[in-house]
Symmetry: C2
Subunit: 334 residues, 2 copies
């Protein structure tokens, strides 16, 4: 029924050795694929753009490393075109791995239930992996307690913007680290952070000392590298560091050395570093979504989204996320 | 009453910029000090030699940084000479901060109760800070579970030699990392480790892969640096790393960069790094000593000690610990 349309596919042309640019990608046009038994055909409407996608090009992470010539992976919000034996109906919206293309064949077992949210893009932000990562990372791994000083890096990013607000809702004093004065202003004015630190303004150590003179009790780290090294020096004794991401390390050939202070400062200050993946909490996803829905509906939790138009702009959208251009979850409207 | 004797004092001559040598120290001879009200005079019989003492010369840790000209600090097993108002008797043995000298003035409030062990040097090893560090670090922070694979670095050192045995007593499979084939043999033959890895033999990563093909569940780290970096790569998902020391980083001007894999591997493998200090468990010291006494008396826990004769040899004894010459707790017989 859809055999005459075309399927645009964004492929990785070359594995980047340094910073990722749109030139590392190419767009090919192919026929819309034919489904086999056990598959459905979906049409991608929106794509979530993850900074972590850059790490997939660098090494094996929680998935195998991507190779040149492969379709760029990505999570889509997609419309069911041909449901096959999925039990869904044409027109249903689903969140699934589509990759960066117009049409995807999806095994019916991976389609899940039809989803609804208003706006629907929230299914790729607050009710998707970014929101659940913020929720489980902050609440379950971090266990923020009333009155604690909490620092979040990449605080204008998809995860950090939500994680910081969740800590504020638990009665913490929340400081966000961002790059640039504009984002610093916005996380305070629009998202209710108690303070913002701009690492591009220099002397982050001094900024932290001034903003958290009694030390940081909980640090939610999305960036690793030098910012992590600096926050380590600002931690209060017995503080916790939730390790969520290391975006400062993704956009090169390999991670640089780790932060000074590991393990020395961990010992003298009795710190804990706690790595987690959102998939560890798969069994509790519904609990997380429900808590997030309640917070969004009450107006306490704001959901910044940063929409870019056009599948062909997905490579530039990812490069922009790596450069910190976005405010909130970056999403490509296909 | 003892005014005619002399007091040898080992002073830090220069703060070392690189590896510590005996030339960084000088021995002066002074009169035996006169006690004031609230003090007792003790005579140092044995001194515990800590690798961590090198870190005191490098930066502020859990104590202020040491300066040139100061008496070298250290924990002594000492005989009370003049008890003052302490309530102790002349001849009682106490464990206290004496520094590297024959006679020390000690505030009576810091003397504690008289102690007894056979041999008495156990008061500076298994029943002192090394033993309690091994106990609380391994048992309370690490929480080793039956059947887990546990790796201990500096496994022939004062803490590691005991920590590994404690994990074995909990039903774990315990591998020790040491420098040199001789120590590798001895931790297996004499201390009951299930296996030994010699980092000086090269390819520690390959050795770990062969010895722990299903990954390391718990790593008790005394060394930091490259060994930590290598063990990180060998950790099983959801593994724990107890950060006890970083001896590889002490004997230079400042710690180098931290290990690669922090925070990247912490995230993808959901690892925890847990810093601790033995002083966090001060309230439970008696519990720890009792558990250790039971294990020693049953013969399950061996207590290797490495005794060096003569106060003047304390600097060389410390340099030797930093070079990994010792097997078990190094103690200077004054």
């Amino acid at each position: 029924v859809i055999a005459h349309r075309e399927n645009r596919r964004v492929l990785l042309r070359d594995v980047p050795a340094g910073p990722l640019t749109p030139d590392h990608f190419t767009v090919e046009t192919a026929p819309v694929p034919q489904r086999a038994a056990g598959e459905a055909i979906v049409r991608t409407r929106f794509l979530g753009i993850d900074a972590g996608a850059r790490a997939w090009l660098q090494s094996a992470t929680y998935r195998t490393r991507l190779a040149a010539g492969e379709l760029m992976p990505g999570t889509g919000l997609a419309e069911v075109i041909d449901p096959g034996q999925s039990g869904l109906s044409a027109g249903d919206l689903v969140v699934c791995e589509t990759g960066w293309q117009d049409y995807a064949l999806v095994p019916v077992g991976l389609l899940g239930l039809p989803r609804y949210a208003e706006p629907p893009t929230h299914l790729l932000s607050v009710y998707g992996n970014p929101g659940l990562t913020a929720f489980f990372g902050m609440i379950r791994s971090g266990q923020p307690a009333r009155g604690e000083t909490v620092v979040v890096s990449a605080a204008a990013g998809a995860v950090g913007s939500l994680a910081g607000q969740l800590a504020r809702m638990r009665g913490c004093r929340v400081l966000g680290i961002v790059g640039g004065a504009g984002k610093a202003q916005r996380i305070v004015d629009e998202l209710g952070f108690h303070g913002a630190l701009d690492y591009r303004a220099g002397d982050l150590r001094g900024q932290l000392k001034a903003a958290a003179p009694d030390g940081v009790h909980l640090y939610f780290d999305n960036v690793g590298g030098e910012v992590l090294e600096t926050v380590l020096l600002a931690m209060a004794a017995h503080g916790r560091i939730v390790c969520c991401g290391a975006v400062s390390q993704y956009d090169g050939p390999a991670p640089a050395h780790g932060p000074r202070g590991v393990p020395g400062l961990l010992i003298t200050r009795r710190l804990q570093m706690l790595g987690f993946l959102v998939s560890d909490f798969d069994a509790d996803r519904a609990v997380g979504v429900e808590a997030l829905e309640t917070a969004v509906r009450s107006g306490e939790l704001k959901v910044p989204e940063d929409i870019v138009e056009g599948l062909a702009n997905a490579p530039a959208a990812l490069a922009g996320v790596l450069a910190g251009d976005n405010f909130g979850r970056r999403i490509v409207k296909v």
